[in-house]
Amino acid sequence: MAVKNRAAVKSEEYVEVPAGRGEVEVIPNGPGAAAILAAGIGCAVLGILALAGDASETIKGLLNFYSPTGALSGVTTVAIIIWLMSWYVLNLRWRLQAIDMTKVNVAAFIGLAIGFLLTFPPFMDLIQGR
């Protein structure tokens, strides 16, 4: 089987995956790391915007992209745009690189935790001192 990018097979952060027609492609963990960190960023942004909309009437108004759905439309639209943009940018930078996955995971899990906590109304109230 032919192997693409053989020169890259030096680190354990690279793996060989089938590329069709009997070929094997060597790819780094960078694209996966970009997707994971971007998902963490998307979750965190969702939580932060949900809290911001809850705390401020001005921000709530700004996030009201579609009146029947209210601020939820803006919270989710902005979170999705930032998630996809960060994924695109990170993938552009990391697609050919091996990345320290431990750091990526810590950041992504923090983002995920922020997403869960800041969308939980009693925790939102706690932060706002209600």
Partner: protein, 193 residues
């Protein structure tokens, strides 16, 4: 036997897309776990790979359909504002829940958490599907990546569980009603057997 258009959309949102997405988790978790078992061949066969990719793609589509129909079709009916002085709030679920101290927390905690936390699921499962499809069986060698994939899969499951459970309970206390009637089947009236 009839159903209203709003009932039908609520069923599509919750029972159709949401519940099917939940059901698909058991398969996805089992497959992701199996993918990383030492006894599995180093590479998946084409048929296995296609099946896994189809399963994950279906989950991504279901997750996005569930949140999009929820936010842009069902939720506007839920949060509709009643006319001033309206005594019957049956068609205004949010206002109905907030009208009593016994039910207001269903909205303040239940709906306000559900409406936001549900969106974590499609973001997480889209990432899980992409990484799994890209790295396939070799993910076993990338232990940190595998940890992230499994963690986000479980997180998506929890987020969907929260949204689904509160959705079912909210629909019990303040169902979304109204819309045009859709007759599914005509029956006989009057008689008892």
């Amino acid at each position: 036997m009839e159903i209203t258009s709003r009932d039908l959309w609520t069923i599509f949102h919750g029972l159709g897309f949401g519940a099917l997405f939940m059901l698909a988790f058991s398969g996805a978790l089992a497959e992701l776990y199996r993918l990383s078992a030492p006894s599995v061949p180093a590479q998946l066969g084409a048929q296995e790979r296609n099946l896994l990719n189809f399963h994950l793609s279906a989950m991504v589509i279901l997750a996005w359909l569930a949140v999009l129909t929820g936010a842009y079709i069902v939720y506007p009916w839920y949060r509709a504002v009643p006319p001033e002085g309206a005594a019957d709030l049956a068609n205004y679920p949010r206002s109905l829940l907030l009208s009593s101290a016994r039910t207001s927390e269903w909205h303040r905690i239940g709906m306000e958490w559900k409406e936001n936390v549900a969106w974590l699921a499609p973001i997480a499962i889209t990432m899980v599907a992409y990484v799994t499809m890209k790295y396939q069986r070799t993910i076993i060698r990338l232990q940190q990546m595998r940890l992230a994939v499994l963690t986000f899969t479980v997180a998506a499951f929890i987020a969907t569980g929260i949204a689904g459970a509160f959705g079912a309970l909210l629909n019990k206390y303040a169902p979304v009603r109204g819309g045009s009637n859709i007759i599914l089947m005509e029956g006989e009236s009057g008689g008892e057997k």
